[in-house]
C-alpha cells in the first residue's frame, strides 16, 4: 500500500491548473480531496506521473444561490455541504446525499467536484445530480463551458472532461414551489459503496400532478444511471403508491448491475426497486409539504 513515484505541484489558481494540465495531459491527475485517488495510488491502480493539487486555489468552495441557480464550487467539502443550512433547508436531497458518503473522516476532505469528476458509478453525487438536472462547469485553455449532467458521464471512470479541463463548479436549478427530492442508499456498512441507491426529484402542479421527475441511480450500471422510463411514467400523473411502485419497478428494470461481494445482480436490482420506491415516497412527502 505504498504509492509509486509521483511528482507533485500545488497550484494557486484555476488558470495555473489549466496551463499545467495542458502541458502534462493524461500524465497528470488533479488532486482535490484525494479520497478516491490516493487509495487507488496506494494500490497502484492509478500511477499518475504528476499530481496537480488544487486545494490551495482560493474561492472554489462557495455554496450560493445566484440568478435562480445553486452554485457549488468544485472544492466544497462533503462535510461543508452536509452542514450548510441553505442546503439543509432548500436542497434536502443534497443533504441526504452528503450525509451517506463514506464516513465523517472521508467527508472532511472529499469534495463534491471530485465525487463527480472521478466518474465512478458507485459515487453518490452523480445520481443526485442526474435527478436534479445539474450542469457541470469546466475551464480549459479555450475558456469555460457548461456540460449538462446527462452528457457528463461517459463510461466507468470516464467523464466528458477533457485532459486539459478542470471542473470548477456545479450548477443546480433552484427548486420551484411544490418540489421535493430525496436520496436513499442501502449499504452493507457505513463507508461502503451502495448496494443500490436512488436520488429522486419531483415537482408537482397545484392539482398535485407530477410535472417534473428526476431519478438517478447509484452503482447499478457501468456508469451513473438516469431512470428515463420511470421518470416518463410519472409525468402528468397524480402520485399514488401504485404509481410509485410502478415507477420503481421501471427504474429497477433499467439497471444493469454486476454480481459481486455486495450481492448477486438480481438482488441489487431488487434493492434498486426498494430504494427508488423509498426515495419516491420521501420526495413526494417533501414536495407536498413544500406547497
Amino acid at each position: 500500500m505504498i504509492p509509486g513515484p509521483v511528482r507533485y505541484r500545488r497550484v494557486r489558481s484555476v488558470d495555473e491548473a489549466v496551463v499545467l494540465l495542458s502541458q502534462l495531459g493524461t500524465d497528470a491527475k488533479v488532486l482535490s480531496g484525494g479520497q478516491s485517488l490516493i487509495p487507488m495510488m496506494k494500490f497502484r491502480l492509478a500511477e499518475p506521473s504528476y499530481l496537480i493539487d488544487i486545494n490551495a486555489i482560493p474561492g472554489l468552495d462557495f455554496i450560493e444561490e445566484r440568478g435562480g441557480v445553486l452554485c457549488l464550487g468544485a472544492l466544497v467539502r462533503e462535510s461543508t455541504l452536509e452542514r450548510s443550512m441553505l442546503v439543509r433547508q432548500r436542497y434536502p436531497i443534497l443533504h441526504d446525499t452528503a450525509e451517506v458518503i463514506a464516513d465523517p473522516l472521508v467527508r472532511n476532505l472529499a469534495t463534491v467536484g471530485g465525487n463527480l469528476a472521478h466518474g465512478d458509478p458507485a459515487n453518490d453525487h452523480p445520481a443526485t445530480m442526474l435527478a436534479l438536472r445539474a450542469q457541470v462547469v469546466a475551464r480549459g485553455p479555450n475558456g469555460e463551458r457548461s456540460i449538462p449532467i446527462d452528457d457528463f458521464f461517459v463510461d466507468t471512470f470516464v467523464t466528458a472532461l477533457q485532459p486539459d479541463e478542470l471542473l470548477t463548479e456545479i450548477r443546480i436549478p433552484v427548486p420551484p414551489p411544490r418540489s421535493g427530492g430525496a436520496y436513499v442508499k442501502f449499504e452493507r456498512k457505513v463507508g461502503d459503496y451502495a448496494i443500490a441507491a436512488a436520488g429522486v426529484f419531483l415537482v408537482l402542479d397545484e392539482a398535485g400532478r407530477i410535472t417534473q421527475a428526476g431519478i438517478g441511480l447509484t452503482n447499478l450500471s457501468y456508469k451513473p444511471l438516469r431512470a428515463v422510463d420511470a421518470e416518463r411514467a410519472l409525468l402528468g400523473q397524480y402520485a399514488s403508491d401504485e404509481l410509485l411502485r410502478y415507477a420503481a419497478e421501471l427504474a429497477a428494470q433499467a439497471t444493469d448491475p454486476v454480481s459481486d461481494l455486495r450481492g448477486p445482480a438480481d438482488y441489487k436490482r431488487a434493492v434498486a426497486r426498494t430504494m427508488t420506491l423509498r426515495a419516491l415516497r420521501r420526495a413526494l412527502e417533501r414536495a407536498q409539504a413544500n406547497a
Binding site: 452493507r188 456498512k189 448477486p264 438482488y267 426498494t274
Partner: protein
C-alpha cells in the same frame, strides 16, 4: 506515603494504560526506530498454487537503496527455508520450488526505506507455472485431488483425525432415540483483523552477540524458545520484547515467516531490520480463524429431553497446520460442544485437511474452537425446539446442567467447575421482558412483519491449562508472576502473560492491591519483555486471569505470610496472634495495634527479625488444577427489512457470569468489544476466495468490520458464580461475548423466519442471503 484508597478487587479503577494511549504516547512495534535501521518488504504470490520456475532479483538489486533480496534458496542454505508450527507441522518461511496459497511470501527485499523497498518488490521477477488450486476440503479429500503438501510422507491432503466422547454409547442412543434432528453448519473463514498489523524490529548486536526482537507477540516467551530452537542461538542471547500491542485476538500467537526472515536479515547484515505488514498483507496472508464444516445431530425424547450429540467436522486448515492449539488438541477444545446441557453421551469427530489457502485456524477471541462448539450446540438446541414445537427458552431450562450437579463431568470428559445456568437465563428473560416480546412478535407476524427473538446460553472453557493435559510444543501451560515490594511500600509486579488491550496493568495491580492492602496507584505491572518477565505462555484463550492472575494472588499471599513474621517482630507478638484484616496485620483482640504493608515493607529492609531473609518479594509459577467455565445467557431481538433483507438489531442483552469480577468497568468494556466482534462474525465478516484461490476480501472495503453505526446499544447484566478452584474465584471473560453473540443473533434471525419454514442460515447473514430467503418464501417486498 499518604493514605490512599486501596482500590482492590471489585473496584472500577480507570485503566492505568489509557493515559498513554489517549495521548498518542503508546509504543507499538512500528514506533521502534533504531539508528541505521533497514526496512523489509515482501514479494508475495499472485497464485494460490504454482511451481516457481525462476526468481530473478537482479533488477531489484540494481535499484537505489536496495541492500538485499532474500529468497528461499538462500534460506535453505541456512536451514531456515522451513520452520516448525506450534501444532507440530512445518511451514515454509520462503519457498524454494512452489507456493501453496495466494499472497504467500516468495522473497524479501531489504532496503534503506519503506518506499524503495515497495518499489523493489515490484521489480523482483518471478516466473510461475500455475497448478490447480484446492479450495474446498471435501474436494481435497478426493483421491485425485492435487497434493498440497508433497513434502510430507503421507501422500494425501488429510492431516489428522481426532475424536472425543463415546462412539458406541452415542450411536446406541441415536438408534433408540424418539427424535433426531440433523443440520449442516458452515462457520466460515474469518480474520482477527486487529487494528495493528503484525511486524517486528529485529536487531542483532555483534558486540554483545545478542539478538533483540520487538515483535507483535501474544506469547513472547514461547516465541523466544521457538526462535532459539529454530536458529540454534542460545536462549539467553535472544530477547523478545512485546511492546504495546494493538489487538491480538489470537492472530499474534503464531510465528509468521516475516519474523523469521527479518531475524535472518539482521544476523546477515548486522543492522536493525524493520518489517511491518500493510493491511492487505495482514488480511491476505496472516492466520485465519474458523473454517469448520460441521454436521451435527441431536437425539432427544419427544418431550424435549436431550439424550445425545453426534458431530462430524471437516476442518479446513489451509496449506500448513499452523493453528496454535495445545498439542493434544488438534481440534482445540471443540469437544466442549455439549454446552450447558446435560446429556448422556456425545461423540465428536474432526478431520483436519490441507487446502491451498493461508494457514491458521487460530482461536479468534476464542478459547481454541469453543466458538465453533457453542455455535453448533446453540443452533442445534433451537433446531430441536423448532422440531418439537417448543419455546427455545423452555427447552433450555429443561436440559440445563443443574446447579447441584457441579462439578459436572461432561460426556466428552470435561469437568465444569461451577455454574448456575437457570439463574442466568431467568435473569435475562425477566430483564428483557421475554413474554411481552413473544406477544409482540405474534402481533407483528399477523401484520406480515418479521421480528425474531434469539437466545444463546453458552458455556465457555478457558484458562488453559493444567499441566497434565495442556502444553504447546511440550511446554506446559502454567503461568507466572513475580512481585517485589520496595522499602517504601511501592510494588513492581512482573507477569508471564502479555496484554494486547485487556488492561493487565490495571487488573493485576488490583489483585496485588487487594492481597497486600497497598493502594493500586503504587503498583506497577510489567510484562512482555523476556529478559525481565518470568516465563509464561502468553495471553490468549482468556487464560491470563485464570493462570497468571492466580499466580499473582498466590505470590502476593506468599509475601503476606512473610510480612506476618515481620509484623509480629515489630509488634512483639507471636505470628499466631496476628490476623490480616482491613488491609493490615492486627493483634487479635486489639485491632488498633496493627502494621500496614507499607510499614512492614520498610522494616523488611531496615528492621527485620534475626534469621529472616531481608527483602519482600515472591514469585509463583501456577499450574491450574482445572480450566474455568464462564457462561452466559444472551437474548437478541431483530427486525428484518422485507425490502432489502437487512437485519436490524433492536435489542441485545448479555448476562455474563465470569465468577469474581476484578474490575467491573474493564469487564464491561471486554463484553462490549466482544459482542461487537461476535455481531460482526454473525452479520458481516467472511474471507472470500474466487475460483482461482485469489482472496477477494483483502481490504477493509470488502472485509467488513463494524463501526459504531452498525453496533447496537449493548445491554449487560451479570450473575456471579465464583470458580471453586481459582484463588480469587475468577474465571476469565474476554471471549465469552464473541462466542455467545453469534448464535443469539442467528437464532433471532431464524426465529423471525421460522413460521415460514426456515430452520438454519449460515453466517454471515448478509442482506442478500436473507432477501433470497424472503423471495423463496414469497414475502420479499
Amino acid at each position: 506515603m499518604a493514605a490512599r484508597a486501596v482500590h482492590g478487587i471489585g473496584v472500577p479503577v480507570k485503566r492505568k494504560e489509557d493515559p498513554r494511549f489517549i495521548r498518542g504516547k503508546g509504543t507499538y512495534v512500528d514506533d521502534i526506530k533504531l539508528p541505521g535501521m533497514l526496512v523489509m518488504d515482501i514479494v508475495r504470490s499472485p497464485y494460490a498454487h504454482a511451481r516457481i520456475k525462476r526468481i530473478d532479483v537482479s533488477k531489484a538489486l540494481a535499484m537505489p537503496g536496495v541492500i538485499d533480496v532474500i529468497t528461499g534458496e538462500e534460506l535453505a542454505k541456512a536451514n531456515l527455508a522451513w520452520m516448525p508450527t506450534l501444532m507440530g507441522d512445518r511451514q515454509m518461511v520462503l519457498p524454494t520450488d512452489r507456493v501453496v496459497y495466494y499472497a504467500q511470501e516468495v522473497a524479501a527485499v531489504i532496503a534503506t526505506d519503506r518506499y524503495r523497498a515497495a518499489d523493489a518488490v515490484l521489480a523482483v521477477e518471478v516466473e510461475y507455472e500455475p497448478l490447480p488450486p484446492v479450495l474446498n476440503p471435501f474436494d481435497a479429500l478426493k483421491p485425485d485431488a492435487p497434493l498440497v503438501r508433497p513434502d510430507r510422507e503421507q501422500k494425501s491432503n488429510h492431516i489428522w483425525h481426532w475424536e472425543a466422547g463415546d462412539k458406541e454409547k452415542t450411536d446406541r442412543i441415536f438408534h433408540e432415540a424418539e427424535v433426531v434432528v440433523a443440520q449442516d453448519l458452515y462457520i466460515p473463514r474469518i480474520h482477527v483483523a486487529s487494528i495493528e498489523t503484525c511486524g517486528c524490529v529485529a536487531n542483532y548486536d555483534p558486540v554483545t552477540d545478542k539478538l533483540t526482537i520487538w515483535m507483535t507477540s501474544q506469547a513472547p516467551h514461547a516465541h523466544r524458545t521457538v526462535f532459539s530452537l529454530v536458529t540454534g542461538i542460545p536462549e539467553h542471547k535472544i530477547r523478545i520484547i512485546s511492546p504495546d500491542i494493538g489487538g491480538g485476538f489470537g492472530g499474534k500467537v503464531p510465528v509468521y515467516p516475516g519474523y523469521v526472515i527479518a531475524t535472518y536479515a539482521t544476523l546477515k547484515h548486522k543492522k536493525p531490520i524493520k518489517w511491518i505488514e500493510d493491511r492487505s498483507e495482514n488480511l491476505q496472508a496472516d492466520s485465519f480463524a474458523r473454517d469448520y464444516h460441521i454436521h451435527a445431530e441431536l437425539a432427544a425424547t419427544r418431550d424435549g429431553k436431550i439424550r445425545g450429540l453426534r458431530v462430524r467436522v471437516v476442518a479446513d486448515h489451509g496449506a500448513f497446520d499452523a493453528a496454535a492449539n495445545p498439542s493434544r488438541f488438534p481440534a482445540g477444545l471443540f469437544s466442549v460442544c455439549t454446552g450447558s446441557y446435560d446429556m448422556q453421551a456425545a461423540h465428536i469427530q474432526v478431520d483436519g485437511v490441507y487446502t491451498t489457502k493461508p494457514p491458521g485456524g487460530v482461536a479468534y477471541r476464542c478459547s481454541f474452537r469453543v466458538t465453533e462448539a457453542v455455535h453448533t450446540i446453540e443452533r442445534m438446541v433451537d433446531i430441536l425446539a423448532d422440531e418439537l414445537g417448543m419455546d427455545p427458552a423452555e427447552i433450555r431450562f429443561k436440559n440445563f446442567v443443574q446447579p447441584h450437579q457441579f462439578p459436572y463431568k461432561s460426556p466428552t470428559g470435561w469437568e465444569y467447575d461451577s455454574g448456575n445456568y437457570p439463574a442466568a437465563l431467568q435473569k435475562a428473560l425477566e430483564t428483557i421482558g421475554y413474554q411481552e416480546l413473544r406477544r409482540e412478535q405474534a402481533e407483528r407476524r399477523a401484520r406480515g412483519e418479521l421480528m425474531g427473538i434469539g437466545i444463546s446460553t453458552f458455556t465457555e472453557i478457558v484458562g488453559a491449562g493444567p499441566s497434565h493435559t495442556f502444553d504447546i510444543l511440550g511446554i506446559k501451560m502454567f503461568d507466572s508472576a513475580e512481585i517485589r515490594v520496595h522499602p517504601t511500600g511501592a510494588v513492581i509486579v512482573r507477569i508471564g502473560v502479555q496484554t494486547q488491550g485487556q488492561g493487565h496493568e490495571t487488573t493485576f495491580a488490583q489483585i496485588v492491591a487487594e492481597e497486600l492492602g497497598i493502594p493500586v496507584e503504587y503498583i506497577t505491572v510489567e510484562h512482555g519483555d523476556t529478559d525481565t518477565a518470568p516465563y509464561g505462555l502468553g495471553t490468549y484463550a482468556s487464560r491470563s486471569t485464570p493462570t497468571a492472575g492466580a499466580a499473582t494472588a498466590v505470590a502476593a499471599r506468599k509475601i503476606r505470610e512473610k510480612a506476618r513474621l515481620i509484623a509480629a517482630h515489630l509488634l512483639e507478638v507471636s505470628p499466631d496472634d496476628l490476623e490480616w484484616k482491613d488491609y493490615a496485620f492486627r493483634v487479635k483482640g486489639a485491632p488498633d495495634r496493627h502494621k500496614t504493608m507499607q510499614e512492614i515493607a520498610f522494616a523488611a529492609y531496615t528492621n527485620f527479625p534475626l534469621g529472616l531473609e531481608p527483602g519482600l518479594e515472591a514469585e509463583c509459577y501456577y499450574d491450574p488444577p482445572n480450566l474455568t467455565f464462564p457462561f452466559g445467557a444472551y437474548v437478541c431481538v431483530v427486525d428484518i427489512d422485507r425490502g432489502t433483507g437487512q437485519v436490524k438489531i433492536r435489542e441485545f442483552l448479555a448476562v455474563d457470569d465470569c465468577g469474581t469480577i476484578i474490575n467491573p468497568m474493564i469487564v464491561e468494556g471486554q463484553i462490549h468489544g466482544g459482542l461487537t466482534m461476535g455481531m460482526a462474525a454473525a452479520l458481516l465478516e467472511e474471507i472470500v476466495y474466487d475460483e482461482n484461490g485469489t482472496m477477494l476480501t483483502g481490504t477493509f472495503m470488502d472485509y467488513l468490520l463494524p463501526t459504531a453505526v452498525e453496533t447496537p446499544h449493548w445491554k449487560t447484566a451479570k450473575t456471579i458464580t465464583p470458580s471453586p478452584h481459582h484463588p480469587l474465584g475468577a474465571k476469565g471473560v474476554g471471549e465469552s461475548p464473541t462466542i455467545g453473540a453469534p448464535p443469539a443473533l442467528v437464532n433471532a434471525v431464524v426465529d423471525a423466519l421460522s413460521h415460514l419454514g426456515v430452520r438454519h442460515i449460515d453466517i454471515p447473514i448478509t442482506p442478500a442471503k436473507v432477501y433470497r430467503i424472503l423471495q423463496e418464501k414469497g414475502v420479499a417486498e
